[in-house]
């Protein structure tokens, strides 16, 4: 997905720690409140496990681990943002789901250069909202866990 496509689009937002993230609403299939996660031994650390998505098996990715944020126990458990990546459903674990926001192209800026390099490639850019910054997540890269497996394990 290119920057141009994302800019000025509708974003499905969610929170992780005190940060606001967004993914293109067209990538989002659904949002689930609760799903039982079956862990997969030997999988990449960011892979939380598998969930049953109406009979289909979807891989679940812990976005906190993926984005190098501290893991915490959430009250009521995390929520699932199910996105479609390369034709298969992948669930992203987030703290809390936010609104669908229509963002303005003029507020767009590339990600700050100071951002954690491990995370930098996963963030497409930022939108300067009135109160805070909205970080746009690159769905295709986030689900490619095996590529950056080593870095995250460190």
């Amino acid at each position: 997905m290119t920057t141009e496509q994302t800019a000025g689009a509708l974003l499905c937002t969610f929170r992780l720690a005190d940060l606001l993230f967004g993914v293109d609403v067209r990538d989002v299939q659904e949002v689930l409140r609760h799903a039982e996660i079956t862990p997969v031994p030997h999988a990449a650390p960011a892979v939380a496990g598998l969930i049953n998505l109406r009979g289909q098996i979807a891989t679940t990715i812990d976005l906190r681990t993926r984005l190098a944020l501290d893991s915490i126990e959430l009250e009521g458990g995390p929520m699932h943002v199910v996105v479609r990546a390369a034709g298969e459903p992948v669930s992203l674990l987030v703290d809390r789901i936010g609104d669908v926001l229509s963002v303005d192209h003029e507020d767009y800026e590339p990600p700050p250069v100071t951002i954690d390099p491990a995370v930098a490639e996963l963030i497409v850019g930022t939108y300067k909202l009135e109160e805070e910054l909205l970080l746009v997540v690159d769905v295709a890269r986030v689900v490619e866990t095996h590529v950056t497996q080593g870095e995250e394990a460190a």
Binding site: E36, V40, H42, A43, L50, I57, T59, A86
Partner: protein
């Protein structure tokens, strides 16, 4: 355009089918040239292909097919005799047509392969006819003109009613056959010309032509045969049709009052018969259907589980009905995907024929169980491995005729393929009566190739050595042939078979032959599985790899062979893997253990799991890309409660844990080899076990009474009360010294040596008979009865040996009164 694609698609499907039949037919014809029905069929199919591709404007295809047909017509007319050369040429024609069809399928074009040499060959072969029919080539010229001039208008459109026209041509050709053979050649030529003209016909006509199954009888013929229509009327109708009437012949006849509608309908239904009782369905549709049924099975499982705790009876009944219907639906849908294994075997006679020609071998191929059905995905998956194995067998397995004759065998080698259902799986066996696999040669080769070290080779039992043919990078061919022996052979075969959850075993006797036994599941989509628990999660193990379940008591232990854990399972060392350690979970100390005995590569190993839950029909779902790297899991499934469970890949598990390459595994194989030498299991009935007692005494025990043979170290023998006992498989087993207790020699217990024990099961209790040694097993020995009639003896090698009754000994020695059945854990 789309209509075009559809027509061509159907044309291709029919051609491929036709080619397959031609191929089989040709192989049959080579062996039995007099088989007229087969020859006629082959001719007709090729003729139809040629005709149709003429319509569709595939000139190149038509040319090749036509030359082949020419040659065939000479055979049919007995101008030429079928021989190897002609068969080769015709098979090559078949292949060439296949190549062109392939490129039509891929690109819509005929491709630019050059078949001129093939065409030349076909023409040369056909030209032989000129020598046979002396100087016949001169006559045809005028005939040609007549033919073409005669029916310029009628001929091409006549083809529109499918074969009606085409076949008419043939009939005319046949009619002229009766006068001279040459005329037939001419007529054939004329036919080509008219058909070339026909190829310019409008598409609508083609659609009509394709509507009927070319192999079915023509409606006109049926009506004439039924006596409800007149041959002339039919011909008139055909002519009308050819003049642009788009109605079917039957309809024309009815409309003109030449036939009764009901007669036509009866004939039409008969005509359709075979064609209508089956339809072509896109495989994609079946796959979707199968997926949906999979989902339904899962929902059913959930609902059935819910009704378990539901008191509402109004809900239970429909749930049960749903359960039943879902099962039936699942079965029916699976059936739609089933195809007889014959569909892939049909190619094999040709393969065998070509190869045996190539190697100058004579091979008789026999196939049994062609109708055995398998899921099409599985069929696809075993197709290449099977072909490869057949090639291997022809190449390496069956010896050259002179070698065979020298060995006292029939010069003609025998290759047998058989398939049968067994449980939820299919067994395929490939047996030959060839030279067998020489373990010594394999060892040598394996060391040369660096597959194993010389030291390992020395200790490797024969059976294991033979299995090295499946090792990667192994090839036994003394000289590498173009067919097999390129080192990519059997390991790939095995990998492919195991990928679909199957297994392959080899049994061989040097000089006698080799037999490969392949076991594959019926279907991949829905399989029965054992659900086990480990580290708080459930995992599914395909039942196909499951051998048995063993529960270990507190005092039965896993032992160690050079650092590899093993368990003694009925005299054999079973290498053990702990699922926890494989999953990277914490080790736990267990008092007891559940061992799931699985087999991978045809060899057993034990998997320790936390607990065993249940068996369930599971639907295999692929893993997402992010987690599919693991070789340990073959997929995932949704359980009855809606949660996800991973499916363990047994072969992957064996490979990643290295359990089957461990010292334990080698030790186990050595034992197995020794076991096979005794082959206790295979002999039954009145077979006796000969045991040695002290002072050169002997005794015989009926094998039926013997459970197994054990060896106990002197310090394993304990005293309980006044009796000798050993701890055996979680129980205390009393020992009876066979010598003293039957008055035959002194005892063997307490002599400071390990004691051989014959374990008998007497009234459900194990009783051990201590003997000096196990001597032999004799099947159906001569039995002698003494005067009293109750003591039997057997005669072995002229020596009379008393037959002892284990039951009687156990009773007399009083061991049965001992409360021996108390599990050790209770002490």
């Amino acid at each position: 355009m789309e209509e075009d694609d559809e027509i061509i698609g159907e044309f291709l499907a029919e051609c491929y089918e036709g080619l397959e039949r031609i191929e089989q037919g040709l192989v049959v014809l080579e062996a039995t040239p007099d088989d007229t029905p087969t020859l006629t069929e082959v001719f007709r199919i090729l003729h139809t292909i040629k005709g149709t591709c003429g319509f569709l404007g595939f000139g190149k295809l038509e040319t090749v097919a036509h030359r082949g047909e020419n040659l065939l017509s000479l055979l049919r007319d007995s101008v030429l005799e079928m021989d190897g050369e002609i068969t080769d040429a015709l098979l090559a024609t078949n292949d060439a047509i296949g190549v062109i069809l392939g490129s039509i399928e891929a690109s819509g074009e005929e491709g630019d392969q050059d078949f001129s040499s093939l065409i030349a060959t076909l023409e040369t072969l056909a030209a032989r006819a000129d020598h046979v029919t002396s100087g016949g080539a001169a006559a045809p010229a005028p005939a040609e003109t007549i033919e073409v001039a005669d029916e310029p208008a009628a001929e091409p459109p006549a083809d529109t009613e499918t074969d009606a026209g085409v076949e008419t041509d043939v009939e005319q050709v046949e009619a002229s056959d009766e006068s001279t053979d040459d005329a037939s050649l001419v007529a054939e030529q004329a036919e080509v010309d008219t058909e070339a003209a026909a190829s310019e016909l409008v598409e609508g006509v083609i659609a009509e032509a394709k509507a009927d199954d070319p192999s079915s009888d023509r409606i006109g013929d049926l009506l004439v045969a039924d006596g409800v229509a007149d041959r002339t009327d039919v011909e008139v109708a055909a002519a009308e049709q050819s003049l642009g009437d788009s109605r079917k012949i039957g309809n024309i006849l009815v409309d003109e009052g030449r036939a009764e509608r009901k007669d036509v309908e009866t004939a039409a239904s008969r005509q359709r018969g075979a064609a209508d009782s089956s339809i072509r369905v896109d495989v994609g549709v079946l796959d979707t259907l199968m997926n949906l049924v999979g989902e339904l099975v899962l929902s059913r499982n959930e609902i059935v589980q819910l009704t378990g705790d539901d008191k509402n009876e109004g809900f239970v009944a429909p749930a049960q009905r749903l359960n039943l219907i879902t099962s039936e639906l699942q079965e029916s849908v699976m059936k739609t995907r089933m195809q007889p294994i014959g569909t892939i075997w049909n190619k094999l006679p040709r393969v065998v024929r070509d190869l045996s020609h190539q190697f100058d071998k004579q091979i008789r191929l026999e196939m049994e169980g062609k109708e055995t059905e398998l899921d099409r995905t599985i069929l696809e998956a075993v197709k290449d491995p099977l072909t490869h194995m057949i090639r291997n067998t022809v190449d390496h397995g069956i010896e050259d005729p002179d070698v065979r004759v020298a060995a006292g065998k029939d010069a003609e080698g025998y290759l047998r393929l058989s398939a049968s259902h067994e449980g939820g799986q299919v067994n395929i066996e490939i047996t030959d009566d060839g030279g067998g696999i020489d373990a010594a040669k394999i060892r040598k080769k394996a060391v040369e190739k660096g597959v194993i070290t010389a030291e390992v080779a020395e200790t490797l039992p024969d059976a294991a050595a033979v299995n090295l043919i499946f090792a990667p990078g192994f090839s036994t061919a003394e000289k590498v042939t173009g067919v097999s022996g390129r080192g990519v052979g059997m390991d790939v075969v095995r990998t492919n078979i195991e990928r679909i959850g199957g297994s392959v075993e080899v049994k061989t006797t040097v000089g006698r032959g080799t037999s490969f036994k392949i076991k594959i599941p019926l279907t991949l989509a829905i399989i029965p599985a054992l659900i086990v628990r480990c580290d708080g999660q459930r995992y599914a193990l395909p039942q196909l790899s499951l051998q048995e379940l063993v529960r270990l008591g507190p005092n039965q232990k896993i032992e160690d062979v050079h650092g590899a854990p093993v368990y003694r399972l009925r005299d054999r060392l079973l290498p053990i893997v702990d699922l926890r350690s494989q999953l990277g979970a914490d080790r736990v100390d267990r008092d007891d253990a559940n061992i799931v005995v699985l087999h991978a590569d045809g060899r057993p190993f034990g998997l320790i799991v936390d607990s065993i839950a249940d068996t369930e029909e599971i639907v295999i779902k692929p893993l997402g890309r992010t987690v599919s790297d693991s070789e340990m899991f073959s997929g995932a499934t949704v359980m009855g409660d809606g949660s996800v469970a991973l499916i363990l890949d047994v072969n992957g598990l064996a490979a990643s844990s290295g359990v089957l390459s461990s010292a334990a595994s080698v030790a186990m194989e050595a034992e197995e080899e020794a076991e096979q030498a005794n082959s206790l299991d295979t002999i039954d009935g009145r077979t006796v076990l000969l045991v040695g007692l002290a002072d050169d005494n002997r005794a015989a025990i009926l094998l039926d009474q013997v459970d197994r043979l054990e060896e106990f170290a002197p310090d394993a023998i304990e005293m309980s009360g006044h009796r000798d006992v050993v701890q055996y498989r979680g129980e205390v087993m009393p020992l009876v010294d066979l010598g003293p207790s039957t008055g035959r020699g002194s005892g063997t217990i307490g002599m400071g040596q390990s004691v051989s024990v014959v374990v008998c099961s007497i009234e459900g209790q194990p009783v051990g008979l201590a003997v000096d040694g196990i001597l032999d097993i004799v099947s159906q020995p001569d039995v002698r009865r003494d005067g009293a009639g109750d003591v039997e003896s057997v005669v072995v090698e002229g020596r009379l040996i008393d037959l002892v009754d284990a039951h009687e000994i156990a009773l007399n020695s009083g061991v049965l009164r001992l409360e021996s059945a108390v599990p050790i854990g209770a002490y």
